[in-house]
């Protein structure tokens, strides 16, 4: 089996970074996320391949929080679109976890299927290689296997690496893209015997079976109001979620010129569902709270056959009010309808 030795990890990243913009899990000051290796600063940053995951999920690499779409200039009565900002520089996400890869699979479903293909997403996505770090030690907030994600044998990885102890990683190319990047660094890998670790038990489980079906009859259930009381209707859970994809399209102008951009938006905000005529179909906090869970657990399931939650646990950790999607699923299971 091919092995990337501890001492070679940074060399591998450096070698890949020659032709790619490589994103690595990094602790940067008080923050953790996937940051471009080009911005890596030894004095300030700490690479996190040995920890469970990072707060800011990698979705922003293929679907940035703010993304320019096109620029325009007006001349008299005419408007000319003079720039289209498609971004297709080759990229590698190095060391993402299965839950976050699955989340990107869901973005693929959204942006590529059901008769519409989003060019901006396609340009970024097609040029991105996924080097997935298999999980054998699920954390306290992880419940990916309950949501149909395999932590150590993900589908659709380009390369799969396995922590085999001592900071060494077994390296397996899993796709043509994966073979191609492996070729770039083959001299840095060693051929040796390696035993893969065994997957430890999950501390968290939740039974999602039948939830989408049951939710159909629970739109007006009183539990939504009860559960929404502690919630601040902030957007932390949606912005930190690897799967949440809602966005808005807006424009910025200066004199005769301007550009259109899209930016993440959150169903937790009143403005999100505000309509031009003044009506708001989700005026109440509880309606916005409910929407977040119905979208994840019912609507996405109905449209794409899977729930829009990969069990990464981030929203549970970061919620300042202690709201938990696991609790919500359990409440749905228990509820009388």
């Amino acid at each position: 089996m091919k092995v990337m030795k501890k001492a070679k990890v940074e060399k591998v990243i450096e070698a890949l970074a020659k032709e790619h913009d490589v994103y690595v899990p990094i602790q940067r000051g008080a923050q953790t996320g996937f940051f471009s290796y080009r911005t890596y600063n030894e004095d300030y940053d700490d690479i996190m391949l040995d920890t469970l995951n990072v707060y800011q999920p990698p979705k922003s690499i293929v679907f940035p929080q703010t993304e320019k779409m096109y620029g325009f200039k007006s001349e008299g009565q005419k408007i000319n679109i003079d720039q289209v900002f498609e971004e297709s520089e080759p990229k590698i996400i190095f060391g993402l976890r299965s839950c976050d890869l699955k989340a990107i699979d869901y973005l693929d479903e959204l942006f590529f299927t059901k008769s519409y293909e989003d060019e901006f997403y396609r340009a970024r996505r097609k040029s991105t290689v996924m080097i997935v770090n298999a999980c054998y030690n699920p954390g306290t907030s992880c419940f990916c296997d309950s949501m149909g994600v395999s932590p150590n044998e993900p589908e659709n990885a380009d390369v799969l690496i396995h922590d085999i102890g001592e900071g060494d990683f077994a390296w397996e190319a899993k796709s043509d893209k994966g073979e191609a990047v492996t070729e770039l660094i083959k001299d840095l890998l060693e051929e040796q015997e390696a035993t893969l670790p065994t997957l430890k038990n999950f501390k968290r489980k939740v039974d999602y079976e039948g939830v989408a079906e049951k939710l159909k009859d629970m739109f007006d259930h009183p539990m939504w109001e009860d559960m929404s009381y502690p919630c601040h209707n902030c957007g932390i859970c949606t912005y930190m979620c690897p799967t949440c994809y809602c966005f808005d399209i807006q424009v910025k102008t200066a004199g005769e010129e301007g550009y259109r951009f899209r930016c993440w938006d959150s169903c937790m905000y009143r403005e999100y569902s505000q309509m031009a005529g003044g009506h708001n179909p989700r005026e109440l906090d509880k309606e916005r709270f409910r929407n977040r869970f119905l979208h994840k657990l019912q609507f996405f399931q109905e449209r794409y056959g899977e729930p829009l939650c990969t069990g990464c646990g981030r929203c549970i950790v970061v919620c300042p009010a202690g709201v938990s999607i696991i609790k919500v699923i359990e409440k749905v299971k228990e509820a009388d309808v």
Binding site: Q27, G29, A30, Q31, T32, D46, M48, T51, L52, N53, V54, Y55, Q56, Q65, T66, G139, T140, S141, D226, Y229, P230, H232, N233, C234, G235, I236, T238, Y239, M240, D248, Q250, K252, F261, C263, W264, S266, Y269, R270, E271, Q274, D285, G313, R314, V317, V318, P320, A321, G322, V323, S324, K327
Partner: protein
Amino acid sequence: MREITNQIKDIARKLFEEKKIDMFLAWEKSEFDFQSMPFFARSAEEVEKIIFDEFSVHNLSNALLRFRDGKQRIGIVVKGCDSRGIVRLLEDHQFTRDRLYIVGVCCPGMKDPLKAFRNESGFEKTANADLEADKCNDCIQPNPVIYDVLLGEEQPPRMQGERFKKVKEIEAMTPDERYAFFEDKLSTCIRCYACRQACVACNCRTCIFDESRPQWVGREANTSDNMMYHIIRASHMTGRCIECGECERVCPVHIPLMLLNQKLIKDVDSFFGPFDAGLKYEEGAKPPLSQYRENDPDDFL
């Protein structure tokens, strides 16, 4: 704290039995030992779930905004900082005193459930050794300033050393250094608006950041729009922030919001003071910046 929990339960149970309240705001325990979360009891039976412990850090006065248009009579547990939040709501005419039954608890300092969960999560490389909520280290008023009943022993202020020390360090910087400092800090804000949502003083019905006709602040999460967001948010807190520290505590990317708030607290105090918002409630009182006086200083303009 078990003693205080029992006292709170007794009071809440009695209030329900005597039909004096429709709802009681306190905390309940969630899955982990460190997970205390806001709880909204609506009957004497539900009172049994109530707890008050070292993780009861949330400022529940903010949750009252949810009920500002209702008629419910509400019992609520407040620590020192939270009680100043109640004063904020009364001064801002968001709530009337007669709808509230306030249980004040003298606060010995809280731990932060978010810190504890971060330690457990594996989403960070280094663990926080101490779980003390940062906001409690700057606390000047641990004892409630408004209450119907007071529990626990009066506590000394937890703030040690010089007040506004961090603010003074920033003031000592050159304008360029200061700009660079805030550019670095604010560029990573993800504009989730949690700092606004958790704030009791952010009680406008339609927030300027949600206005779309016209849109006052751009929605791009970049340095310039972020700075605009933060300048406006902070300046709307001038003379109004009650220093509960919730904004900074809830921020998922650790933006030092209290630095901005404290700068304004310091300025209001030195220009119009002595003054700290929400330290006492007097009906009809006009705190600084809620009225105009001819001799108001204006050399900072």
